[in-house]
Amino acid sequence: MFQRAGHLTRVMAAVWRISLAEAIAYRVSMLMWVLTTTFPLVSLSLWSGLAASGPIGDYARPDFVAYFVAAFLVRQFTASWVVWELSAQIRSGDLNTLLMRPMSPMLYHAIQNLAALPIRCALALPIGVLVLTLTGGLGWPSPGSLLALGLSLTLAWLLNLGVHVTIGCVAFWVTESTALFEVWLGLYLVLSGAAVPTSLYPAGLAEVIRALPFHASLGFPVELAIGRATGAAVTHGLLLQALWVAVFGALATVLWRRGVRAYEGVGA
């Protein structure tokens, strides 16, 4: 038991090292990636402009700044890109290499994602700080809510990973699984809170949107980070996140298992 756990830790460390080395080899493209995923910062300029003449809903101008800078950072911290890697590996047959190793390809992808985090943070944090300095301050979460925030970020990352693996596995049957992901991404931009804080949607609609996985993967951790989710809303939000993680985790597991059986191992 302990032996297995020890082996797993060593494997994780090894994947981490190799992925970190790869991430460093790709640091320029990573910087590009960070710069091109600044969508929340675009929303920020839009909404802070609109809020110049007075608050919109319960968001005044500084609230928008805090919200969208937090959204930008949460996206960087919880991002996954497994869908691109997985569908490319399935189509090219490069998945063969992962399948022949005595370790789970899914674990490999997960650790690879985590390994890129330090570099992403190093690139994203200065941008966040810069925007904050330019636009004037942000209230950091209280130490008490940091634990909930950490948990929420972890769940958001797991949820993103689950979604990515689920959609990536579609490539076992359909060539254009990344097109499916574009659809998901479109919905995500509108419904996650990346373009509009979901609490600003009309009553009735807002409740529905805030129950969807999109909000669980971005909007909720952002609200937690800027202190807008408190008390029962924290527990409720975390439970909802856990529920969606379970749903997409199960979907991903089923699709992966069936996909590997359908896999044709293309390429000579």
């Binding site: 082996h7 494997v11 080395a21 790709y26 490069d94 290499t97 399948l99 022949m100 190793r101 005595p102």
Partner: protein, 326 residues
């Protein structure tokens, strides 16, 4: 070590006619055609054997190899390798085998090979002492001591292939699957890799299963050959036996001051020119024909040979060649 019974693999391939109309129709209803890639394969291999899969392109060699390695799941039949069912891909099984594909890179492109080796050490749980010894042995044999410290993308095809082999053998697999390991390599490199594989096989008693387009690879390396064509096993035995089955006639040649009046009575005339005669003769008539030729005036250079390998292969893979010509 390897047991295969009634092994089949079917692929469904989407099928549509050319043109826009067919493309639109395929959007609504896709039609599939079932391709029988491997049909009812049956064989078994003993530990330590070196076996070559021969067959034209698309014959089912690689598909069979992938089923043995556990990469793809059979449609029907049973496979057992080293006591495991490969398609379950249990870690204990994967640690006992290795699959090297000449046309696919397995090493991470941007890192030096040595980083990849170190990664394998951890993933395959190789004991550090073993690892160090085996790494030294393999890098010395394959002469990659310097090469393995450069990023893989800077290596030549041959250097990369050598590193792929090191990575594949560090954990000391009992069964080694090689798919076109020498493809695209120059002759010297082919010879080196061939020799290395033979050495690994004899020193570690590992079972080696190989597919190759280069007849020489298979001829030099594999005492046993399985010919797979159209997804079926056509032949199982030694190269000599294969040669005699495909081209049963012996080639008898002689040089003499005067040749027989009616050489066609002795066998099929391949060449008759100056004082030289080459005949294809049925095995049972060889003693008689040799007797007749020895009696010729100033007979010399009398030789009895099997048909040349290239001819055997041309006869065997005639279809492939026809396709290339056509």
């Amino acid at each position: 070590m390897v047991r295969v019974e009634g092994l089949c693999k079917r692929f469904s391939v989407p099928r549509r006619e050319a043109g826009l109309r067919a493309a639109l129709r395929a959007l609504v209803r896709r039609e599939y055609r079932v391709v029988e890639a491997v049909q009812d394969l049956e064989f078994s291999l003993a530990p330590g054997e070196r076996v070559g899969f021969l067959g034209p392109n698309g014959a089912g060699k690689t598909t069979t190899l992938k089923m043995l390695a556990g990469l793809i799941v059979p449609s029907a039949g049973r496979v057992e390798v080293a006591g495991f069912t490969p398609s379950e891909r249990r870690p204990e099984f994967l640690r006992r085998i290795s699959l090297v594909m000449g046309q696919k890179r397995q090493l991470s492109w941007d890192l030096p090979a040595i980083d990849n080796f170190e990664f394998n050490r951890v993933v395959y749980e190789i004991d550090p002492v073993h690892y160090k010894r085996r790494l030294e042995e393999l890098t010395a044999l394959l002469e990659v001591g310097e090469v393995m410290r450069r990023p893989v993308r800077q290596l030549s095809l041959g250097e990369r292939m050598k590193c792929e082999l090191v990575a594949a053998l560090l954990h000391g697999p009992q069964v080694l699957f090689l798919d076109e390991p020498t493809i695209g390599l120059d002759v010297a490199m082919q010879l080196g890799i061939r020799e290395f594989i033979r050495r690994y096989n004899t020193e570690h008693g590992a079972t080696v299963i190989l597919t190759s387009h280069y007849m020489e690879d298979v001829a030099a390396l594999c005492p046993r050959i399985l010919v797979i064509d159209g997804g079926r096993l056509r032949f199982d035995g030694s190269l000599e036996a294969l040669r005699r089955q495909i081209r049963p006639l012996r080639r008898v040649s002689v040089r003499a001051a005067a040749l027989p009046d009616d050489p066609a009575a002795l066998g099929r005339v391949v060449l008759q020119e100056g004082g030289r005669l080459v005949l294809d003769v049925a095995p049972e008539r060889v003693p008689e024909v040799v007797g007749a030729l020895v009696g010729l005036p100033e007979a010399q250079d009398l030789a009895v040979q099997d048909a040349p390998l290239e001819e055997v292969m041309r006869a065997l893979f005639g279809r492939e060649e026809a396709a290339e010509l056509g």
